[in-house]
C-alpha cells in the first residue's frame, strides 16, 4: 500500500496498474477520471485506491469466459505436479512405451521408446528392462 505522502493521483494510478492489461485498455482512462471526481467530492484517495486494489485482485482471480480451458489445463498440471506424477506420463511417448512393455520381447525396434537406441544390443534379454525407464544399461548410460 502506498504511503500517505504520495499524491492521490499517484496512489490511484498505482492501484489501477494492478489490473490486467485488457481491463486497463477498456476502463483505465475512465476509472482514473472517476477516481479524480470522487476524490474531489471528498472521498479519501486511500479508500478509492483500496476499492480498485480489491477489485483488481478479483479480476485476476476470476476466470474469463474464453480462458476457461487454459485455466482448467493449468489446474490439471498443478494437481499432477503436486501429486508427483512425472511429466513424462503426460507426454505423447507414454502410450508408446506402454505398448512396448505389453508386447514384451516380441516388440520391434520401431515401437520402442526414444531412449532405446542407447541400449545395449543384448539388453532385451533382461526382463523388465522397459518397466524401469531410469535404469542404467550395460554401458552405464541413463535411459
Amino acid at each position: 500500500m502506498p504511503g500517505p505522502g504520495l499524491p492521490p493521483a499517484r496512489v490511484v494510478g498505482l492501484a489501477l496498474r494492478c489490473y490486467p492489461r485488457r481491463w486497463r485498455r477498456r476502463h483505465g482512462t475512465e476509472a482514473a477520471e472517476l477516481a479524480a471526481l470522487l476524490i474531489a467530492d471528498g472521498v479519501p484517495a486511500r479508500s478509492v485506491a483500496c476499492s480498485y486494489l480489491c477489485a483488481a485482485a478479483r479480476e485476476w482471480l476470476t476466470p474469463q469466459p474464453g480462458h476457461r480451458l487454459a485455466a482448467a489445463a493449468a489446474a490439471l498440471l498443478i494437481v499432477a505436479g503436486s501429486l508427483g506424477v512425472p511429466l513424462g506420463l503426460l507426454s505423447a511417448s507414454a502410450p508408446a512405451s506402454a505398448a512396448s512393455a505389453a508386447r514384451g520381447h516380441t516388440a520391434s525396434a520401431s515401437a520402442q521408446p526414444a531412449c532405446t537406441p542407447h541400449q545395449h544390443p543384448h539388453s532385451h534379454l533382461r526382463p523388465h528392462s522397459h518397466a524401469r525407464p531410469h535404469a542404467r544399461d550395460a554401458h552405464g548410460q541413463h535411459c
Partner: protein, 108 residues
C-alpha cells in the same frame, strides 16, 4: 427466461441490483451511477465494485455499453436486464410482505 435472468442477477450480487435500478430510468456513466445510488440507497459504491459489477452484468447481457461519450462509457439496461430487475423486485416484494405479516402476527 425471467427465472434464469433473476437467478443470474442474484449471483451477480447486491451492487448489480443497485446498478440496474439506477439504469432503469435511462443510461448513465460511472460517476452518475455512483451519485444516483448514493441518493436513493444511501450507499457509496466503491469504483472498483462498480466496474466489477458492470463487467459481470455486461457478460450476462443485462446491461450494454453505449459508444464512448467524452472518454466515458455510458451504460444502459437491456430488455433482459429490465426483466431480471422486475422479477427480482417482485421476489423482494413477496419476501417483504411475508416478513411484515409475520412480524405483526408475532407481535414484535
Amino acid at each position: 427466461m425471467a427465472a434464469d435472468s433473476q437467478d443470474a442477477l442474484r449471483r451477480a450480487g447486491d451492487a448489480s441490483v443497485l446498478i440496474l435500478t439506477s439504469l432503469a430510468d435511462g443510461p448513465k456513466h460511472g460517476y452518475a451511477l455512483i451519485q444516483d445510488i448514493k441518493g436513493f440507497a444511501g450507499l457509496q459504491l466503491g469504483p472498483g465494485t462498480l466496474y466489477g459489477a458492470l463487467d459481470r452484468l455486461e457478460r450476462l447481457g443485462l446491461v450494454e455499453a453505449l459508444p464512448t461519450d467524452e472518454r466515458r462509457h455510458p451504460y444502459q439496461i437491456t430488455v433482459a436486464g429490465a426483466a431480471a430487475l422486475r422479477a427480482h423486485l417482485d421476489s423482494l416484494e413477496r419476501v417483504s410482505a411475508v416478513g411484515r405479516l409475520r412480524l405483526r402476527l408475532g407481535g414484535i
